[in-house]
C-alpha cells in the first residue's frame, strides 16, 4: 500500500497527490511514468510523474478526472492509501545538449511538461513555455512555469484569461518571426500535439511528443500501448511503455493513436457514470 501524504486540488477537475514511494522517488526522471491501481480489482492506469522528492521519498502525480479510476482516485484523501504504485517506467525525456527549447503544454499535460521545463532551466537552457487551457478556471501551474521559463505565453481557448486562442498560435508567430529552437517538446491532448507538429513542420524544428496510450503492465509484456511510426517511409510498431513515452512527433500516426484511445469509450462512459452514482449514494 502506498500512502497519500498530501493532496491539492489544482482546479475543478485536476488534482495533485504526493505519494509515498521512496524507490520510485529515488529513480524517476522527467518524462517517465508510473502505473497505479486505486484498490484491489482496480484497473491499472499510467500517469506521468510530475515531480519527485528523493529525500522525503515522495512522488508527485497530477491527474484530471476523466474516467472511473481517476474519479475513484479523486475521492482519496491525505492519509489514505492506494493499492499499487509501480515505476519509474519508460525512457526519460532526452534533454542532453539542448540549449534552446520550446515547451508546449495543453491542459493537464502541463503538469508533465513542468518537470521537463524545470530540468532544462536547471541546465541553463533557454526555455520558452506555451501553456494552454480551455478557460480561466482550468488554468494550473502558471507561477511554476513563470519561475523556470525565460518566456511564458498563457493561452485560453475562450480568452477568459491571458491571450485567446490555442497553443499553436504563439508557436507559429514565434517561428514566423524567425525564432529557432533546438527542440519543441509538447505534451497534451493528441489532437493538440498533432497540430503542434504540423505547425513546426515548415520550419523543420524537431518535435518530441509524449504519448499516453492505453496500457496494462507498462513493461512491454502486453503490447496494448503499441503505436505505428512512419520511419523513412516504413511502418514500424513501437511500444509506448518501453520505447517511449517520448517519440519523434513527425513519425507518429496520430489518427491511429486517437482511434485506439477511444477503443473502450462506451465502457468507460458507463463505468464513469456508475462510479459517480455510487459515490453520490454514499454521500446521501
Amino acid at each position: 500500500m502506498y500512502k497519500i501524504v498530501d493532496k491539492k486540488i489544482l482546479n475543478p477537475t485536476v488534482i495533485q497527490l504526493l505519494i509515498e514511494a521512496p524507490l520510485v522517488a529515488k529513480k524517476a526522471k522527467p518524462g517517465q511514468f508510473i502505473i497505479l491501481r486505486v484498490d484491489e480489482d482496480g484497473e491499472r492506469i499510467p500517469l506521468t510523474v510530475a515531480g519527485t522528492n528523493p529525500e522525503n521519498g515522495t512522488v508527485k502525480i497530477i491527474f484530471q478526472v476523466v474516467g472511473a479510476t481517476t474519479k475513484k482516485l479523486s475521492y482519496k484523501e491525505q492519509g489514505d492509501c492506494i493499492q499499487d504504485f509501480v515505476g519509474p517506467l519508460g525512457v526519460p525525456t532526452h534533454l542532453n545538449g539542448l540549449k534552446k527549447v520550446c515547451i508546449v503544454g495543453g491542459g493537464v499535460g502541463c503538469a508533465i511538461a513542468l518537470p521537463i521545463a524545470e530540468a532544462l532551466h536547471a541546465m541553463n537552457a533557454e526555455v520558452t513555455s506555451i501553456i494552454g487551457f480551455r478557460n480561466k478556471d482550468l488554468l494550473i501551474l502558471e507561477n511554476e512555469f513563470k519561475a523556470c521559463s525565460d518566456t511564458l505565453r498563457v493561452m485560453t481557448d475562450d480568452g477568459s484569461y491571458s491571450e485567446k486562442g490555442n497553443v499553436t498560435l504563439p508557436l507559429k508567430e514565434m517561428l514566423e518571426a524567425g525564432e529557432r529552437f533546438d527542440m519543441i517538446i509538447t505534451i497534451g491532448p493528441l489532437v493538440m500535439m498533432k497540430y503542434v507538429v504540423a505547425t513546426a513542420k515548415p520550419y523543420g524544428t524537431p518535435v518530441t511528443v509524449s504519448m499516453n496510450p492505453i496500457m496494462i503492465d507498462g513493461t512491454g509484456m502486453c503490447g496494448g500501448c503499441r503505436l505505428t511510426l512512419n520511419v523513412d517511409g516504413k511502418k514500424v510498431t513501437k511500444f509506448a511503455c518501453v520505447d517511449g513515452p517520448d517519440f519523434n512527433g513527425y513519425e507518429i500516426d496520430f489518427d491511429e493513436a486517437m482511434s485506439r484511445g477511444r477503443m473502450y469509450g462506451e465502457f468507460e462512459r458507463h463505468k464513469y457514470e456508475e462510479t459517480c452514482n455510487l459515490y453520490q449514494k454514499e454521500v446521501q
Partner: protein, 469 residues
C-alpha cells in the same frame, strides 16, 4: 495386486456444453478411490524410466506407492521434495511428452496417469492438511529472485528450504507470473497459485510486488543491498505481431494482452473494472497452448464463434493434444493451413467520426499447403496463389510467440544475450556475470512451466553450492 487394465482412469470433466460458458475448472480431479485404482496400475519399475522424463526428477513410483497405501499426505511430502508447485504441475505439465511418455504401461496400453495422480495428491493436501510447513533454520545468506513465475518460485522455494533468506521481486501487483496473467482460470484456478505462494511465504520467502528490476532497482543495486546471488526469471517478454496491415486496428490483441485483461485484471467477471472486447466472432492466430487458452477464453467471454487460424495442419499443431481436444469439444473451429495476410477494419467514407471506424470487421487469409520438411523436420507451409478469402470477425488475437524483454539486459552491464535476445547461461544456469543466474523463458524463449521450474531448480543447487563453498 497391480491393476492390469490397459486403459487409464478417465479424468472427470465438466460437460463441454456447460463449461464453454463458465470459467470454472474444466477437469474435476480424481476421487480417492479412482486415485488408488490408477496408482495400482503402476508397476513400480526398478529403473524408474518415468523419473528420467521429469524435468524436476520427482520420485514418481515412490509417491504413487504411497497413494496405493492410501497415505496421501506421505505421497505429497515425496513430491514436494522435488517440486515447489505440485498443484500447478499436476494441471499444466505436458506429462504426455515427459514422465508419462516413458511409462512402461504405455507400450501396450495407456501410461499411468501420473499427472492426474500428482494433481490429486496436491489437491488432497491443500484440502485436508492443516499442518503449516516449518520454516527452516536461517543460514544468514541473502538471495534475490527476479520474477515470481514458475522458475522464480521454484528457485525461491528450493533455496528457502535450505535456509536462505530469499526475496522475490515481481513487476506486477500479484505474484505468479504467467501462472496468473497467462494461464486461464478454467485450466489453473488462481486460488491454487495463491495457495502455493502462501506455502512459500510460510517457508520464509519474501515477495515484493510492484518492483521492476531494470527500472525500480537494477541487478547491481541488488548486490549493493547485500544479496549474494541473483536469479533472473523474468519470463518471455514482448509479444510478436505478424507485421501485416491492420494489426493496430481496434479489436486486435496480442494473446498476452487478451489473457492478461481476462486473467490478471479479472475482466471475465461481471461488471469488471478493466474492459475487454466480449462476444461477436473471434479469430485467434497461432497453434500453441497460448492460442488454445485465448480461444477458449474468448468463447467463455461470450463469443458467438471462435476460430483458430493456423498455417500448418493438425499434425504440426504445437498445443497439447488434450487442450486441442477440449477446444474442439467446446466448438472452436480450426481453420488449418490458413495464413492471415491482412486484418480489415470498418471505414465509413462519409463520416470520419463514425465510432465504428477502425474497428475490426474481418481477417483475410491465404490457403497454405505443406512443402518439404525444414531443418527441424517440420514441413514448411507455402501459400497457394490466388487463394485469399476473408473470415468475418470482430476481434483478432495474435498468439504467435514473444521476444525477450530487453529491460534487464539493457541495465545490467556484462550480461550476455544470444542473437535472439535470450540470456546466455551455462549448465548451472550461471550467466556471463558472476553470481547472476537465469532460467525459464528469459533464457529459452517461450517454453513450458515445468522446464522453467527445472531451470529454477538447477540454479538453486548451483547458487547453494557457490555460496556454501
Amino acid at each position: 495386486m497391480a491393476n492390469m487394465n490397459p486403459k487409464r482412469n478417465e479424468m472427470p470433466t465438466q460437460d463441454a456444453s456447460v463449461r464453454a460458458h463458465n470459467f470454472n475448472e474444466v477437469a474435476l480431479g480424481y476421487s480417492e478411490q479412482t486415485a488408488i485404482d490408477e496408482a495400482n496400475r503402476c508397476l513400480n519399475c526398478k529403473n524408474m524410466p518415468c523419473v528420467s522424463g521429469c524435468p524436476v526428477k520427482i520420485h514418481i513410483p515412490e509417491f504413487i506407492g504411497k497413494i496405493k497405501e492410501g497415505d496421501f499426505e506421505a505421497a505429497y511430502q515425496i513430491i514436494t521434495k522435488s517440486s515447489s508447485l505440485p498443484a500447478v504441475c499436476g494441471r499444466v505439465c505436458p506429462q504426455e511428452t515427459q514422465c508419462e511418455s516413458k511409462c512402461v504401461r504405455g507400450i501396450k496400453g495407456e501410461s499411468v496417469g501420473i499427472g492426474r495422480l500428482e494433481r490429486f495428491v496436491a489437491d488432497w493436501h491443500n484440502t485436508f492438511c492443516t499442518e503449516e510447513p516449518t520454516r527452516p533454520q536461517s543460514n544468514g545468506h541473502k538471495v534475490a529472485i527476479v520474477g515470481s513465475g514458475p522458475s522464480g518460485l521454484t528457485c525461491a522455494g528450493d533455496l528457502a528450504k535450505k535456509g536462505y533468506d530469499v526475496t522475490v521481486y515481481e513487476a506486477l501487483h500479484t505474484p505468479g507470473g504467467v501462472l496468473v496473467y497467462g494461464i486461464p482460470e478454467f485450466r489453473l484456478p488462481k486460488a491454487i497459485v495463491a495457495k502455493e505462494v502462501e506455502t512459500l511465504k510460510k517457508l520464509g520467502v519474501k515477495i515484493e510486488t510492484n518492483i521492476v528490476i531494470g527500472k525500480t532497482l537494477t541487478v547491481d543495486e541488488l548486490f549493493e543491498m547485500g544479496y549474494e546471488a541473483v536469479f533472473i526469471g523474468s519470463g518471455a517478454g514482448l509479444p510478436n505481431f505478424m507485421g501485416i496491415p491492420g494489426e493496430s486496428l481496434n479489436g486486435v490483441y496480442s494473446a498476452n494482452e487478451f489473457l492478461t485483461r481476462s486473467n490478471l485484471m479479472k475482466s471475465y467477471r461481471d461488471n469488471p473494472e478493466t474492459p475487454i472486447m466480449k462476444g461477436g466472432k473471434v479469430a485467434v492466430v497461432g497453434g500453441g497452448n497460448v492460442a488454445m487458452d485465448a480461444a477458449r477464453t474468448a468463447l467463455r467471454l461470450g463469443a458467438d464463434k471462435v476460430y483458430i487460424v493456423y498455417r500448418r495442419s493438425m499434425e504440426e499443431l504445437p498445443a497439447r493434444r488434450e487442450e486441442v481436444e477440449h477446444a474442439e469439444e467446446e466448438g472452436i473451429e480450426f481453420c488449418l493451413l490458413c495464413n492471415p495476410v491482412e486484418i480489415i477494419g470498418y471505414n465509413n467514407p462519409n463520416d470520419a467520426r463514425d465510432p465504428k471506424n477502425r474497428f475490426v470487421t474481418g481477417i483475410t487469409c491465404v490457403r497454405m499447403e505443406l512443402g518439404e520438411p525444414d531443418a527441424r523436420g517440420r514441413r514448411k507451409p507455402i501459400a497457394v496463389p490466388n487463394s485469399e478469402f476473408t473470415i468475418d470477425v470482430d476481434t483478432v488475437v495474435m498468439a504467435i510467440g514473444t521476444s525477450p524483454n530487453p529491460l534487464i539486459k539493457s541495465t545490467t552491464e556484462g550480461l550476455d544475450v544470444n542473437p535472439r535476445g535470450c540470456i546466455v547461461v551455462n549448465e548451472d544456469g550461471l550467466t556471463s556475470r558472476s553470481a547472476v543466474y537465469a532460467g525459464g523463458d528469459a533464457v529459452t524463449g517461450a517454453a513450458t512451466v515445468i522446464s522453467a521450474m527445472g531451470a529454477g531448480k538447477i540454479a538453486a543447487q548451483a547458487i547453494d553450492k557457490a555460496i556454501s563453498e
